[in-house]
């Protein structure tokens, strides 16, 4: 079988015709509308630029939204945390608020790329790129995040459960729409969560497996009052382990039920055999280990360590 031309011949050039820098959201949307699908939003650029290298993707214009006002906040509003999509991974990872009230997200963000990449790559971009192993997306999915999307028809809100469609494909059209907000409930008392990751070296590497775990404990009955398990890359998109979550919900906390849930999570997912990121069998076995470890650690963080 012949290898495709663009796998054998590479270029250092990032190809586009125009680079536009709007001052306001309305202006940005108007620019996108004008190009009618042939423009592309760029923020940190750490995903877009490699994709455009050597015309691997073709765009007429890049619309740089990194200077839009009020798009990079990290703040709490009532029981919710509101993240501006332009917040960088470095800032989110270092934010005391996120570390206290959304620990899995802080941990996930701290794993993305290298310090240089984390300093420019945005959390909004991590979501829009729609990669199944994205280190910010997997924890945001567990946190039940919802995103706000601005487009030609105005604003809409989409929960992440409806957002990830396929590898590299999400509910947002980056040639016409712009993500304007990310929000999710802040973790409170009796809640705990963590993020784990399996990789072939200690930094600057895509994960073979990523797992975000959240629990809420009913302190009276010592039962699971809430559970969220999100995994990647075990499917074309980040994945919630709903069956395993349901198995735990309302149940008394214990090692046995955790082991059962981990087993269920493992059998529910079917990662593909990858020459670079491990076999299906191995990664299924790792899902079991990670779910078990994640739930155990989350319970401890919620103040209810398993005895």
């Amino acid at each position: 079988m012949a290898q495709p031309f663009n796998k054998l011949h590479w270029s250092r050039f990032v190809e586009y015709d125009q680079y536009l820098v709007p001052d306001s959201l309305d202006q940005a949307l108007a620019m996108l509308a004008e190009f009618n699908g042939s423009a592309r939003v760029i923020a940190g650029g750490t995903d877009v630029v490699p994709e455009l290298r050597g015309r691997r993707a073709k765009v007429a214009a890049l619309v740089d939204i990194s200077r839009l006002p009020d798009m990079d906040g990290i703040e709490q509003e009532g029981g919710f945390i509101r993240l501006g999509p332009l917040a960088t991974h470095a800032r989110v990872a270092a934010s005391q608020l996120i570390r206290d009230k959304a620990a899995p997200l802080a941990e996930g963000c701290s794993w993305v790329g290298s310090p240089q990449i984390r300093n420019v790559a945005t959390v909004g971009g991590n979501l829009v790129s729609g990669q199944p192993a994205a280190d910010a997306s997997v924890p945001l999915f567990a946190l039940d995040a919802e995103v706000t999307i601005a487009g030609p028809q105005g604003e809409r809100r989409t929960p992440l459960s409806d957002f990830f469609l396929d590898v590299g494909k999400t509910a947002i059209d980056p040639s016409r729409e712009i993500m304007t907000g990310i929000s999710f409930p802040a973790l409170g008392e009796n809640q705990g969560g963590c993020y784990q990751r399996l990789a072939q070296r200690k930094a600057l590497v895509l994960p073979m497996l990523a797992c975000a775990t959240l629990v809420k404990v009913d302190p009276q009955n010592k039962t699971f009052a809430g559970v969220a398990l999100s995994l990647g890359p075990v499917a074309p998109t980040p994945m919630r382990e709903r069956v395993a979550e349901q198995m735990l919900l309302g149940q008394p906390i214990g090692k046995e039920i955790i082991a059962k849930a981990a087993e269920s999570a493992s059998s529910q997912c079917s990662p593909r055999d990858s020459l670079l990121r491990g076999s299906c069998d191995y990664r299924q076995a790792m899902v079991r280990v990670f779910v078990e470890r994640g739930l155990t650690r989350s319970l401890a963080l919620a103040g209810h360590a398993l005895s």
Binding site: F5, H9, W10, L198, R201, L206, L275
Partner: protein, 799 residues
């Protein structure tokens, strides 16, 4: 990596006998001033301030841009090529096919078996079938898309054992087997008969990418007098010239090769600049204009050489008290599509023969038997990579030593001590090691610094939850200095000026290893001037004497000797003149720190070095010296593999501590000690840098590195997926430097460039096996491989 390197570095002198002067070096009576001092490297400031120019930083005005159309098939006949559409594209200056090569359509570091432009068939994905030169890189790229090639696909071979099978598709006319090299010492069957334990194991290693930071970039500039000048980052300018000349069909003196400062080479840039310079020169010849070819990272992975993969089947016998009695091994050494640096240059040059010679390890074994096959496949080709065949075979014998020790219930350190080379040992080629053998001393030093016995006692579970186990590993190694060919010589010129300043002309290249610091140090020491008095002329085949390639850990030793001989020639003039001026016998003169004085009257009258130089010049005396040094003759019987292939060896022991997550297979290297017998550390700090980098490479080989190939196509072409260790993967490394004087080396030195990465891989793998019980015999030991190795045992040890 090491926060307090001053404290950690321990330079210990084991033995400092007076050097055998012979044809070599005379240590100054006043002792060494510059040699042995950790002077700052001459390129440090330029690199740290970003002022140093690498090839890609050079201006490109006036250059045409060359591009290579690559084969999409691993093995196919070329039915036709149509470049007419490409030629018509505005901005394209030429588009060439195989018939357009003016001279020999083939290049190669040893055999010219790789076409500059493939004419009849392609042998790997990435083989060049057409060349284009255009006014811009974009136009050249577009032109490639317009070239139409009709191929007829042939069955491809991807396993060396398949390549050797009868009826296998023939990759080259000469057949798939490049050579079967044999080593025969003693009677291996008799040796097995004496053994109490015999183990048979197969070890396997994959293709590795060098992952030098700087992707390749070379250019060719036609000169008005008809000379072709080629420039780029290159480890072997003379080998480049030797290839470009016949490809252009001109004599060697019509090609000039100049080295641009390299951003890493590790052996890879011995080979790739030959490829790029030949192709750029052909384009430059056709267009009459300068042509530049620059590769992207992915193209480096596709096109350039790799570390040879090997399958090594070992059978080793040992008595119950741990004495090795017989070593038998069959090695399948995969060359890939082209010969590159694999085949033999008699008597003992080329990576394959080197691997064979080293394969029984640094141990006394009476009976050895090795069959080593080197064969073509339709994969990318194997070339030189830091260790040149030695890392692979060390991975086999050092794991085998641990497996034997486990079988005997012996400590891995003890079995090594029982068999390790010492002064007077006979190697597997029956070479008698008659000087500079510090192997056992490295083991002792390592054992003490690492605390082997306490640590191996405390191996086992790390945490109460029983998820992690700790373990320790040891590995020994040896590595030659020089390349074992007939013509392994080095030349240097030294020019002393009337103001006492010096120009040193050397063809040894700088790739980050520190040659441009260490060689001037030797020159300054030998002349008795200061380091800043010496300016080095960078490798340029028009200016410097032939020095051979910068490979084989040979530079400091061979070039160091050549420099000393050159200095000695100049010193003849200076000695004569200074003797006259001081009125003493020349033998009593000391040249030191820009002063010349009477050894027997050091507080008496002293001359300035520059005074003597000026006076010598005014008298018409010779102030240019030339040194030419070749190591003692190499020998290796082609039938039995017996002889003295390399004149001296560097020795080393490494110890590693690791933690293994037994549920996931993840490995963390937590501590590391590496000891070396280097003869003499010319610049201890630069040496330490070599050690740290080498251990990092060895650790990558152990745990993560592999060019993943599917039907001949690399799947991890960029550094996003081809993983090498980061700072966070590195342990706190403690280097120990020992000095067992090499009588044939400048100031007693021997090579160090390649040694550090060789034992590192098996030391880590042995530590992993010690920690979790699972042994990964096919590298890398990535988390999944470790996980399955533990599974195979039925789980980790429970103690």
């Amino acid at each position: 990596m090491s926060q307090n390197s001053e404290e950690k570095r321990q330079v210990k002198t084991l033995e400092r006998e007076r050097l055998d002067l012979g044809r070599l070096v005379k240590v100054g009576e006043a002792g060494l001033r510059i040699v042995g001092d950790s002077v700052r490297r001459t390129d440090d400031v330029l690199k740290a301030t970003g002022k140093l120019k690498y090839a890609a930083d050079y201006p490109q005005e006036g250059f045409l841009h060359g591009k290579i159309l690559r084969s999409p098939y691993p093995h196919a006949l070329i039915r036709s090529i149509d470049v007419s559409k490409a030629r018509e594209l505005p901005g394209v200056v030429c588009a060439l096919t195989g018939g357009d090569v003016p001279g020999r359509n083939g290049f190669g570091a040893i055999l010219p078996d790789q076409p500059v432009i493939c004419q009849d068939k392609v042998r790997y994905i990435g083989d060049g079938v057409a060349l284009v030169a255009a006014e811009s890189e974009r136009i050249a790229q577009k032109a490639l898309e317009l070239i139409r090639v009709e191929y007829e696909e042939l069955p491809a071979v991807f396993d060396p054992r398949d390549a050797l099978a009868e009826g296998a598709p023939k990759i080259h006319e000469t057949g798939n087997q490049i050579s079967l090299d044999k080593l025969r010492k003693g009677d291996v069957e008799a040796g097995f008969a004496q053994a109490d334990v015999i183990l048979e194991r197969t070890y396997q290693v994959p293709f590795l990418e060098h992952a030098y930071m700087e992707p390749d970039c070379c250019w060719a500039i036609p000169q008005p007098d008809g000379t072709m000048m080629v420039e780029g980052p290159m480890q072997a300018p003379f080998a480049v010239r030797r290839n470009v000349a016949p490809v252009l069909g001109v004599p060697i003196n019509m090609v000039r090769a100049r080295q641009i400062h390299m951003g890493g080479g590790f052996g890879g840039k011995e080979d790739s600049p030959i490829d790029l310079c030949c192709r750029a020169a052909v384009l430059a010849k056709h267009t009459g204009r300068p042509v530049r070819i620059s590769l992207e990272r992915e193209e480096v992975t596709l096109q350039t050489c790799k570390r040879h993969p090997m399958i090594m089947e070992l059978k080793v016998g040992v008595t119950k008290d741990g004495k090795l009695t017989a070593f038998k091994s069959t090695v399948y050494d995969e060359q890939g599509a082209y010969a590159s640096l694999g085949p033999k240059i008699p008597p003992a040059g080329g990576s394959h023969v080197h691997a064979m010679v080293m394969s029984p390890g640094p141990y006394e074994i009476e009976n050895c038997w090795v069959d080593a096959y080197l064969c073509y496949t339709n994969h990318p080709y194997g070339g030189a990579m830091r260790g040149f065949g030695a890392p692979q075979v060390h991975i086999a014998h050092e794991q085998m030593m641990d497996e034997l020790a486990a079988e005997l219930g012996m400590d891995p350190v003890d079995i090594r001590r029982k068999n390790a080379f010492k002064l007077g040992s006979k190697t597997a080629t029956s070479q008698v090691l008659d000087q500079s053998v510090g192997l056992r001393e490295t083991l002792d030093a390592c054992e003490e610094r690492f605390g082997w016995s306490q640590r191996s006692d405390s191996a086992g579970w790390v945490d109460a939850a029983k998820t992690k186990r700790r373990g320790v590993g040891v590995a020994m190694g040896w590595y030659r200095t020089s390349i074992g060919t007939g013509g392994d010589a080095c030349g240097a010129n030294v020019h002393v000026h009337e103001d006492g300043s010096v120009i040193l002309y050397s063809g040894i290249t700088e790739m980050g290893q520190g040659a441009f610091t260490v060689l001037p140090q030797i020159c300054a020491e030998a002349l008795g001037v200061e380091l800043e008095d010496v300016r080095l002329v960078k490798p340029d085949t028009d200016l410097v004497p032939e020095s051979g390639p910068t490979v084989g850990s040979r530079s400091t030793t061979l070039m160091g000797n050549a420099i000393i001989l050159a200095c000695r020639q100049v010193r003849e003039s200076l000695d004569q003149k200074a003797a006259e001026m001081l009125g003493v016998e020349p033998e009593r003169l000391v040249f030191c720190g820009r002063k010349v004085f009477d050894r027997d009257n050091p507080d008496g009258k002293a001359l300035e070095f520059r005074q003597v130089a000026a006076a010598a010049m005014a008298s018409g005396m010779r102030l240019i010296g030339q040194g030419w040094w070749a190591p003692p003759k190499a020998s290796l019987d082609p039938e039995t593999g017996q002889g003295s292939p390399y004149f001296v060896y560097t020795y080393s022991t490494h110890m590693a501590e690791v933690e293994v997550d037994v549920q996931t297979g993840e490995v963390t290297v937590t501590d590391y000690v590496a000891a070396f017998d280097v003869g003499k550390a010319i610049n201890p700090k630069a040496l330490e840098g070599q050690i740290e980098g080498g251990v990092a490479m060895g650790l990558g080989y152990a745990l993560m590195e592999k060019v993943v190939l599917e039907n001949g196509m690399p799947q991890n072409m960029s550094l996003q997926n081809y993983l090498i260790p980061t700072m966070l993967d590195m342990p706190d490394l403690k280097p120990l430097v020992l000095e067992q004087t090499n009588q044939h080396g400048p100031y007693g030195a021997k090579g160090i460039g390649e040694m550090p990465n060789i034992p590192a891989t098996p030391a880590v793998i042995n530590a992993v096996a010690n920690a979790c019980g699972g042994r990964v015999r096919s590298l890398p030991a990535n988390p999944e491989a470790v996980f399955w190795a533990i599974r195979e045992l039925g789980g980790p040890p429970q103690d």
